[in-house]
Amino acid sequence: MPKITIREALKQAMDEEMDRDNNILLMGEEVAKYNGAYKVSQGMLEKFGDKRVRDTPITEEGFAGIGIGAAMAGLRPIVEFMTFNFAIQAMDQIINNAAKMLYMSGGKFKVPIVFRGPNGPAEYLSSQHSQAAQTFFAHVPGLKVVAPSTPRDAKGLLKTAIRDDNPVIFLESELMYSWEGDVEEGEILIPFGEANILKEGSDVTLISYSKPMKILIQAAGELQNIGINAEVIDLRSIRPLDEKTVYESVKKTNRVVIIDESWPFVSVASYLGWLISKNCFDYLDAPAEIVTSEDTPMPYNHRLEIFAQPSVEKIIDAVKKVMYL
């Protein structure tokens, strides 16, 4: 089976879908001539031409809105944000137009659009350029939010996102683009709302999505060394959320730690913690723990920056807490 990077997997997904459907186009800053700020769209201008692969000015609100309007009228745009930090400028378009159009038009206008790009902390970038934006989007009814952690999931979920008739927020990470993994050739479509159990275990459930999956796997390995058998779940999609897989796991292990790169206050992690405490109350041997980024903006200093984020150490501490060790 070929090993490819997440970068390549995302490109394959867009490439294959654009081959299939002429109504799909890609737009964003530096996506065409520069081949993508992070080279995700490498070669796509050459292949599809500047009608279908379009460089935009640095006008996030404008090009997000153009994408939404084009989608309402029948196209299926993929809009790349250089990073999701800049998507904040397009929040009005995404929340007030993309998310609500179908509803307030009584089902008359659908918005088949994908907003994709890197999300979450990178390195040495300080407060404005290094934040996890999933909570902003996951909060809004009418938006689907997905965040893969492997090349195969990246490809399969992005293809599903492009075919979805609803607006989809597709979260990647600068630091994940070069991660490698096996991806079989041929069509891969991964449905939304299906979590993936990366490792089965019996003592505690670790849940996350996107980039932190790497440290979950490391933490599970270290826990194994001290005799704790952790089950590791990759949610893959935040909205829709695979509650069933989560509850089945927690009912088996009776303990859970949720890891989330975003801030703790009203986050995906804290919401999932509430869901679990409500739906698995009789099965829990300890309150759900969350490990998130610290409740602060991101500092530039590297030591502080690392400390501000979830880590293997913090996960292990949280596991020890729920196991009363």
Binding site: K33, T56, I58, N85, L125, S126, Y300, H302
Partner: protein, 323 residues
């Protein structure tokens, strides 16, 4: 039009020294980035020195204000922020101008009204108009300079701020540093007009293009612009300039030709001023070398200070979130 004869030696010498300092400082930061003393995005100002120096030399930072982008080292040095504190900031040290929390893109100084160092393209432009509103509201005498790039000029925030500053007659001068590229994009590919100064007309403001490679031209134009702005007509200047390095330290800048770069390096802002001063007999080669040596020494001292300064305590993570 201005003439070089109208400038006195002291002012020209001061501007020359500032430009040399910026050049040497930036070269050193690139080197320190290579040594991994500095991380993240490092946007160098080399080639554009005349814009910040010519413009900021016009200000009185007891009453005037400066807003700029992530490409902020040149403006900070021109405004007189301490090279030591800037280098320490780049090293992420507690002695940095933003306590090591901001890094390259977020230089600040409240004593010099240096209002940042903003990382979001276009986001600081309304803030500049806001500071101008304060000046007007309190009937002060100052004005605001707002620097941004050719990429930022299409943002809604720019157009909204221009309109607001005109209808409220705010004392603000917007300076678009057109260095020809927004990241890898030639400005002509993403703009409906090639002369940005015409955008001022849409808002009933005054607009002008200036040669951003000539510090005396920038100085003259900004002087005039500040007068207009203080009289209630905000101004948009487009300074035509060029960045010699990639967009940030990680950009190989393959989107432009060597010839294009060389063409601009031949009209280097430091050389232009040096030649003018030499012709006017107010600068000798020995003096020039001395200024250069001094700049290098200042930068070396800044590196030493940054190296020797302590990192912020972990508790600093939680400070400055609220007052």
């Amino acid at each position: 039009m201005y003439k070089i004869e109208d400038f006195d030696k002291e002012l020209l010498t001061e501007m020359l020294k500032k430009m040399i300092l910026i050049r040497r400082f930036e070269e050193k930061t690139a080197q320190m980035y290579g040594l991994r003393k500095i991380g993240g995005f490092l946007h160098l100002y080399i080639g554009e020195e005349a814009v910040a120096v010519g413009a900021i030399s016009r200000l009185d930072l007891k009453k005037d204000y400066i807003f700029t982008t992530y490409r902020d080292h040149g403006h900070a040095l021109a405004a007189g922020l301490e090279p030591k504190e800037l280098m320490a900031e780049l090293f992420g040290k507690i002695t940095g101008c933003s306590k090591g929390k901001g890094g390259s893109m977020h230089f600040f100084d409240d004593k010099l009204n240096f209002m940042g160092g903003n990382g979001i393209v276009g986001a600081h432009i309304p803030l500049a108009a806001g500071a101008a509103l304060k000046i007007k509201y309190l009937e002060e005498d100052g004005a605001v300079l707002c620097f941004f790039g050719d990429g930022a000029i299409h943002q809604g925030s720019f157009h909204e701020a221009l309109n607001l500053s005109k209808i409220w007659n705010l004392p603000v001068v917007y300076i678009c540093e057109n260095n020809q590229y927004g990241m890898g994009t030639d400005f002509k590919r993403v703009s409906s007009v090639e002369d940005f100064s015409v955008m001022a007309n849409s808002y009933g403001m005054y607009g002008e293009q200036v040669n951003g490679m000539d510090v005396t031209e920038v100085y003259s134009a900004v002087g005039k612009a500040l007068e207009k702005a203080k009289s209630g007509i905000p101004v948009l200047l487009e300074a035509k300039t060029y960045r010699y390095k990639g967009h940030s330290a990680s950009d190989p800048a393959k989107y432009r030709t060597k010839e294009e770069l060389e063409n601009y390096q031949n009209q280097d802002p430091i050389l232009i001023l040096k030649n003018k001063m030499t012709e006017k007999n107010i600068l000798t080669e020995e003096e020039y070398i001395k200024y250069d040596e001094n700049a290098k020494k200042t930068v070396e001292e800044a590196v030493k200070f940054a190296e020797e300064s302590p990192e912020p305590d972990l508790n600093e993570l939680y400070t400055d979130i609220f007052i």
